[in-house]
Subunit: 160 residues, 2 copies
């Protein structure tokens, strides 16, 4: 298999907010990120999965985020949305990514990355992908190990 991965990257300090069971109807995502943009919170990734009960779970990550700034905005937002459960805040996260071209056509790239992390006993909390990138959110203290594992799995240049 012609491996298409050309590099790897690590973001070492992320905080994740998960708002569970938001109503799955037009305007909700706009409201959430309208309030977040208005509070000058810079979002790294947005990850939303729709369920089959007319709700969706939506997470976003913030780099070097400060919960003291984020929590009041999100708590108020959840009250306004009538969210049934409290938001979940989780700091001390990292994001390890592989980048390359034409990754899309290779489910094998994803599988190789996930398998390499699993063999290193690294738990994958979130996954997001695009044509050129596969990213996994993991515990921050496993970040350095994870980027090394991924470099080895795809035979990339040694981590400097």
């Amino acid at each position: 298999e012609h491996i298409l991965v050309s590099g790897a990257a690590l973001k070492k300090d992320l905080t994740r907010v998960t708002i569970k069971s938001v109503p799955d109807r037009p305007g909700i995502a706009a409201k959430i990120f309208g309030d977040i943009a208005a509070a000058n919170i810079v979002v790294d990734d947005i990850i939303q999965n729709v369920m089959d009960d007319n709700t969706a779970h939506i997470s976003f990550t913030v780099e070097h985020g400060d919960l003291q700034d984020i929590k009041p905005v999100v708590d108020r937002l959840c009250t306004e949305l009538g969210a049934r459960t409290a938001p979940i805040y989780h700091g001390d996260l990292a994001k390890v990514s592989v980048v390359g071209v034409g990754m899309r056509a290779h489910t094998g790239v994803a599988q190789r990355m996930f398998k390499a992390l699993a063999d290193g006993h690294i738990n994958i909390q979130n996954i997001t992908t695009s044509e050129i990138k596969i990213s996994c959110i993991i515990d921050r203290e496993q970040g350095n190990m994870a980027i090394q594992i991924v470099h080895d799995a795809f035979e990339l240049e040694k981590v400097k």
Copy 2:
């Protein structure tokens, strides 16, 4: 605000599979995509959100996917994983994306996209992002309208 969006894209025919409440421990994602890669299913996006009860919801999309090929693989996989609920299969989807540079720093880009789709009564089912791209999965029959809405919202060249 200096809008950084340089283009928009539409994928018109996607099928989504959601496996709910998979065990949140190392090796599960590798097992899922190992089986999927072995069945020669080409995955478009992977979207995983972790919950706070040691489980995760993981979705993947397949372009021009045929459920007759996908369902037997995923059903068997769910049995082997001991998933508590049946997987959710959903065809007739589309993905509308905006692309640009430095998008990350602009939560406002996401909010503008979500607001434009909401004003067009388009429901956003899944969201994935990267530094250069924000993608929303929507109903297939709203795809053409959505790409037009997004072009207008970011004052891009008219859709050909």
